[in-house]
């Protein structure tokens, strides 16, 4: 993995314009593409609505105005075709180039082309006014779309309109982006795909924009170019000026304008660390998770929710899927996914991971999230309400269809079924009885399914921990869902800003609950996995290993660092540290113990990617 600045000479040590003015202005946005970029700001100006001239046409001016518009559209299309042919197919943007074709088609689109001509002819608006009105109307139509990705496409029509406006107004349609000085950090309100397509990779150290989320073009392009990027900064295009020195940290979302030399030095070190670190880490992803003393007791897998994520999971070294969240198949649609649609998704995930295990969690949502036929949106406490397995047992039609699809897919790989939010034995027994009925049904239809499919429960309700020994008799494995377990055990709503500070993974109560599950698992001989965020935080790894977890499932991006830690640890030292942690009385003490220990144990590797490293 190549980092943005590898091999480039730092130029920021001799800032000129702002040499006496180290303002250290700190902005916080959304880090959408990792790494640190340090360079000189180049502000890419966008045309603002206000400067667009407006006047009412005389009747005889209408036909020439229409031709003026048509010719501007033609020029705009020619420009885009020209950009496309110049960058060619070998461009690092690879298959994202299609978006330029999309823009060319948008120029020709009836809604835009005829819509604007219509506004000129019937409203007697000059071309600029008509374009701007038409674009505004089209963009507002996108407002009603719920899907984030499709909603973002409103920006595409905006960029296309802007290109036409610039031509009409005699402003160069090309931004400064194709003639950047070296060491540029591009700052803009928003970047159009045509802008980013023309970027000379070797001259750019990063992007910072006012607009945009994780699925904005800037984010997508930055990731494919492996350049750091921070979006959603709201006002950076107004605050930063071309020539300012700027630091952007695409991991933490921090941007510092006109940093003092000490700050630059600090980030320079962080940058170097980051790029070396990323390179070395990926190597670890490919290695097995064996401790220094040869223990292969733990399996490292990935949590995914889209079939598409399999590739990233495998690239980062996952040894299976520890949690396939099936909600994505159900959400954002007006009907329920059919058995065949579900089957296809499960089959793909299983097939790609074969022979490694794939744990498929049955539907884990509240009724309010499903569009069809469940009226539970008025619950006072949705977290304690009709959701997950409770919903499935209420709506057995949904549950049975999902079980049928999973069972049918089970012959295509190593399939495990995970039931969420089990809080009592009856729920588990009822679920298993339904599973048996569905199996009998499939058998009578002559459908194939795996007889050996393991069934486990997601341990996330404290009650399930208390009766783990009873539940263990009826399941093949436990998987600890730490996010909810912590929330329920500590009675804290993580998204409530008043109490979220109390949410602590290392609360002694949490650790004791986990230990209790592991003990039951060991006593009854069933596997204990963990699939919450806790499993992917390197800080927790020694203690999770020390407790004797059988599987840790996490965000794919965490896998390389977790494997690295595991490979450098021995089981003995993990157990010893775990014992010490259990003698502590507060979360803070445990945190200090782990952090101090890891800092001492991994002095050069410690948390390069964590916000705290820069503080």
């Amino acid at each position: 993995m190549k980092n943005s600045t590898t091999g480039n000479e730092p130029k920021t040590s001799d800032p000129t314009a702002s040499a006496n003015n180290y303002t250290n202005i700190l902005l916080k946005g959304l880090g959408v593409s990792g790494g640190v970029g340090i360079g000189q700001v180049v502000v890419i100006e966008r045309l603002t609505e206000e400067i667009c001239p407006r006047w009412v046409l005389k009747p005889e001016e209408i036909p020439p105005e229409i031709s003026r518009f048509e010719s501007a559209v033609k020029t705009a299309a020619d420009h885009l075709k020209d950009i496309k042919s110049r960058i060619g197919s070998h461009h690092p943007l690879g298959n994202h180039i299609y978006i330029l074709d999309t823009h060319i088609l948008l120029l020709e689109d009836r809604m835009f082309f005829e819509g604007t001509k219509n506004a000129i002819a019937s409203e007697r608006q000059n071309a600029e006014w008509a374009v701007s009105e038409t674009i505004t109307k089209i963009m507002s139509a996108f407002d009603t779309i719920e899907d984030d990705y499709l909603k973002e496409r409103a920006r595409d029509i905006h960029f296309v309109g802007e290109r036409v406006l610039r031509i009409l107004m005699g402003i160069s349609p090309e931004s400064k982006i194709h003639q950047l000085p070296p060491n540029s950090v591009i700052v803009a309100h928003d970047l159009s795909p045509a802008d980013t397509a023309q970027i000379k990779r070797e001259r750019v150290f990063g992007f910072a924009t006012d607009m945009g989320g994780k699925t904005s073009h800037t984010a997508i392009i930055a990731r494919s170019l492996k350049l750091p990027a921070v979006t959603g900064l709201e006002r950076i295009s107004k605050i930063a000026q071309t020539g300012d020195t700027v630091i952007i940290d695409g991991s933490t979302g921090v941007v510092i304008i006109n940093p003092d030399p000490e700050m630059v030095l600090r980030y320079r070190q962080r940058q170097e660390l980051y790029s070396k670190y990323q390179q070395s880490l990926m190597t670890y992803g490919r290695l097995p998770a064996v401790t220094r003393d040869g223990s292969r007791s733990v399996r490292i897998s990935a949590n995914i929710e889209l079939v598409d994520e399999i590739e990233i999971a495998l690239n980062h070294g996952s040894e299976g899927i520890g949690l396939f969240r099936t909600e994505y198949l159900f959400l954002g649609r007006r009907d329920l996914p059919s058995e065949d649609q579900q089957f296809e998704a499960y089959r793909q995930v299983l097939g790609h991971n074969r022979p490694n295990p794939v744990t498929i969690r049955t539907l884990d949502v509240g009724g309010d999230k499903l569009a069809v036929g469940i009226n539970s949106s008025h619950e006072a406490n949705p977290a304690l309400g009709l959701r997950a397995i409770r919903l499935c047992l209420e709506r057995r039609d949904i549950f049975r269809t999902q079980l049928r699809a999973i069972l049918r897919a089970s012959v295509h790989g190593n399939c495990r079924l995970l039931l969420p939010m089990i809080s009592c034995l009856t729920e588990l027994q009822t679920s298993r009885a339904i599973l048996d009925e569905v199996k009998a049904e499939l058998a009578s239809e002559g459908q194939e399914f795996s007889q050996r499919m393991k069934v486990g429960i997601l341990v996330e309700v404290p009650a399930a921990v208390a009766i783990a020994d009873l539940l263990a008799r009826e399941v093949d494995f436990f998987s600890i869902g730490t996010n909810d377990l912590i929330q329920y055990a500590l009675a804290i709503d993580r998204v409530n800003e008043h109490v979220s500070y109390l949410y602590d993974t290392l609360h002694p109560a949490v650790l004791r609950l986990i230990r209790q599950i592991v003990h039951v698992g060991q006593a009854t001989g069933i596997e204990v996995a963990m699939c919450g965020e806790m499993a992917g935080d390197p800080l927790n790894i020694p203690i999770l290993m020390g407790l004797g977890m059988d599987e840790l499932s996490m965000n794919a991006l965490s896998i390389p660092i977790v494997k690295k830690f595991i490979r450098l640890l021995s089981m003995d030292e993990c157990r010893e540290l775990t014992q010490k942690a259990f003698q502590m009385q507060t979360a803070q003490e445990i945190h200090n113990l782990l952090e101090g220990w890891i800092r001492g144990r991994f002095p050069t590797d410690y948390f390069v990617d964590q916000p705290s490293a820069s503080q």
Binding site: L106, T144, L150
Partner: protein, 95 residues
């Protein structure tokens, strides 16, 4: 001369995990250049021209949505099949 003027239609499911997104919409409009027939896509009572990228995007067809594709005119069968393939295809999932 026999010209197929009958409207033919088919109900299809969006196969792509991201829904009918910019890339698929672009490919549909580009594919339509090879045909002289009229093709529309209809979802939840909203009908759009298969030659309009904006129309296709504004359908807001999320994964698994049902879409009725209608074609009328020369080569309508082939056009319907090609558009159908693009809608159902799961491969073009790169944003």
């Amino acid at each position: 001369m026999m010209v197929e003027e009958k409207i033919i239609e088919e109900t299809l499911m969006v196969g792509n995990q991201l829904g009918l997104h910019a890339r698929v919409a672009t490919m549909i409009v580009q594919a339509m250049r090879n045909y002289g027939c009229k093709v529309t896509l209809c979802k939840d009572g909203v009908e759009v021209d298969a030659r309009s990228v904006l129309g296709l995007l504004l359908l807001a067809a999320t994964p698994g949505s049902e879409i009725v594709v209608k074609a009328q005119g020369p080569d309508s069968r082939q056009a319907l099949e090609e558009v159908g393939r693009l809608i159902q295809n799961e491969e073009f999932d790169n944003r």
